[in-house]
């Protein structure tokens, strides 16, 4: 009986996906966005869900949240042309003209083109190939130890870069209409203002404030709840509650 009640109360991921598509088809993008959020809460993390959530939010004129959803989709599928097209389209509507933030580690710039999973599997495959060559070195001609070691080292670098990127959430999106960027946590000088959808680098977080950095090097403190992290595993911000003046 309890199981039956639970199944009635909570839709399965497949049902949520279907209901979201149906809601979007009849133009009810609010209901569609709710279903996509539920899927994410059920830990079904996929670029298609973030992509559709971004579309649904965009249709509701929630540009900041839409950019955030597409950015998260791009983290999971960096080479997806649809995601990049929608992001480019949305960026043209933003008030702040900022270069997109690249949060790949400095020693692994290729992570801009690879998802975390792809980086892990590619790195492991390279390391595995190195080990195979070492294991078969007596049966291979010449001296295969050097290329095997090179493959192993390269694989370690690729895998390490992917793992490091997976543990970083240092890019974010402004979710308020306007945020004030100050030189100090409390008080200080108002350095500049950012607007909805602006993409920034996130730094340390202290007492509800976050240190942000722009691609041109400018830094300042912003209220953390005005920002959303592009980490796909982080809870997606509740859009309806974010309309407070900023």
């Amino acid at each position: 009986m309890i199981l039956l009640l639970c199944s009635l109360l909570y839709a399965s991921p497949a049902e949520s996906w279907t209901q979201a598509a149906e809601a979007a088809a009849r133009g009810d993008y609010g209901a569609a966005a709710t279903q996509y959020r539920e899927l994410l809460q059920q830990n079904v993390i996929h670029e298609d869900i973030y992509y559709n959530l971004g579309n649904s939010l965009y249709r509701q004129n929630q540009l900041g949240e839409a950019v955030l959803a597409w950015r998260r989709a791009a983290v999971l599928a960096p080479r997806d042309p649809d995601i990049q097209a929608n992001l480019a389209f949305a960026r043209r509507k933003l008030r702040d003209d900022l270069a997109p933030v690249d949060n790949s580690p400095w020693f692994a710039p290729w992570q801009s083109f690879l998802s975390v999973g792809e980086g892990c599997y590619l790195g492991a495959a390279l390391m595995g190939a190195g080990l195979v060559i070492l294991g078969l070195r007596r049966r291979l001609p010449g001296s295969p130890e050097a290329p095997a070691a090179l493959l192993f080292a390269l694989g370690t670098l690729v895998w390490g870069g992917a793992l490091l990127q997976d543990r970083r959430s240092d890019a974010g999106v402004v979710l308020a209409e306007e945020v004030s960027v100050s030189s100090e946590l409390s008080g200080g000088v108002e350095l500049f203002r950012l607007h909805l959808g602006a993409e920034v680098e996130l730094g340390e977080r202290v007492g509800g404030y976050c240190l942000i950095r722009l691609p041109d090097g400018r830094k300042g403190w912003v209220l953390e709840d005005k920002l959303g992290s592009v980490d796909p595993r982080a809870p997606f911000p509740a859009g309806a509650n974010r309309a407070a003046p900023g």
Binding site: G128, L131, R138, A162, L185
Partner: protein, 530 residues
Amino acid sequence: MLLWIATVQAASLQLQLERRELVEGQTMTAQLVLTDATVAAPPEISVPDGLQLRFAGQKVSSFINNFRSSQALIFSYELVALRPGSYTLGPVQVESSVGKLKAAAVSLQVSARSSSERLVATLGEGDSYEGQVRVYQLHFETARPLVDAVWSPPEAPGFSPEAAVEPMQAKDSRVDGGTTLAIHDLYFPIRFAAAGKRVVPGGVLQARFALARSRQRQPFFGLDRFGDVQEEIFSAEPLPVVVKALPTEGRPADFSGFIGQLSLSAVASATQLSVGDTVTIQLNLSGNAPLAGIKLPALQGSGFKVYDDQPVAEAKLVAGQIVATASYKRAVVAQQPGTLEIPSVSLSYFDPITGAYQNVRSAPILLNVSGTASSAQVASFAEKPPAATEVDVLGEDILPLRTATLPSASPTGSWAWILLIPGAGLLLAELLPHLRPRPREVVATPTLSLDNLPAQPEARLAALDLIFRQAIARRLGTPEENLRREQLGALGEHAAAAEQVYRALEAARYRGDSPDGLEASVRRIVEQLQ
């Protein structure tokens, strides 16, 4: 500067202003300080007409006063003085966690700004219509040295920045009563999205003025990077606009959607040609609003074929006015001799000045075509027709939703280590033999037997000794090299005989006694021990 002075009381609400006097257009910070209480959302403060208040953020401050710890929730607002006058801000009442709290009203005096420094917003003359693009102008004049200026164009529902035309800034100067005034203008095209009464909020100019440097401070190696500046914010007054809907009455069926003034001309690259030749007809549109997306009707007529090319549209601001052009090229292939008339092309648009729909029409073009009709057939097959036109772009939007089956979660790489197993296994198999303790090397020694003893006396004696020792060691189950004389006692009934042979062997090896008879003794004891 923190305005709040710690005159601490339990659960209080105070409204504080940075200054009590402002000059028109200036901005200052207002703070609402809530002590030892909390609220669910930033309180709203109603402001009288002539002032503008924007929420700028909140922070929490803790302090200790008279050995008592308190916490203050400080809401900051940006207060802009729009018009001169005496104003009262508040009282403010909030529903807090400890009940209703009330902050006393504060008064504010706004004086008129110097007439030489004013930010003025204009939208040009004439009515505004739904879908029309107009140029919002911010005009600023100052006699003070302006270091830099940051413009903030207006934003509000009902209109949007026109993406097809870049905003323009212009600088100029003029002399007024012996004073040189710097003039700064911003031209910002906006498109009215819907009909109705609108208010275009005032644009904002954030200006930084250089202050007169003290005499003691000299430029550092010629660089005056440390000069003092004063920042001021100027706000233009909001502009009320009535946006009219386009009239439905008299709307032509071929209305292009263009709102503004328009002109159309047509030019041919040649008027004398042969059958099968191609001539380019260029139709040029020019107007005072963006022309991207405006489609011209097709050229229709007999005796020629037409191939469209992609139109090229451009729009820019010139002296604060939109200058837009669009060029449409049509490749016309003559198919029959004689005089061909390329018909005129007409386009309907709405003129906001006259408030009526208008029509522009290009002049027809006459082409003299020589040759015969058959050559057109030859030419049409021999020549490659002009390139096909691209798909007309009518608008832009995001790409559609994905509705395929629910995807499984994206791979996170947590199972990537599996790829290491084959290589690690191979390597382990390769290394294992080197890691195991090596078995002792077995040195092949000639098999000794009493039946084939060496002939040489010393070797014969050594062989007998070895055969004896091996037989004892086998019987006792100990390594041959560890065999000691004391162990012979363990042979039981054969101990005495073994002891006797042992002594005889030692005597022969170390004292040089004759080995005669030893061979028989060794043979006997070996047979007994087997």
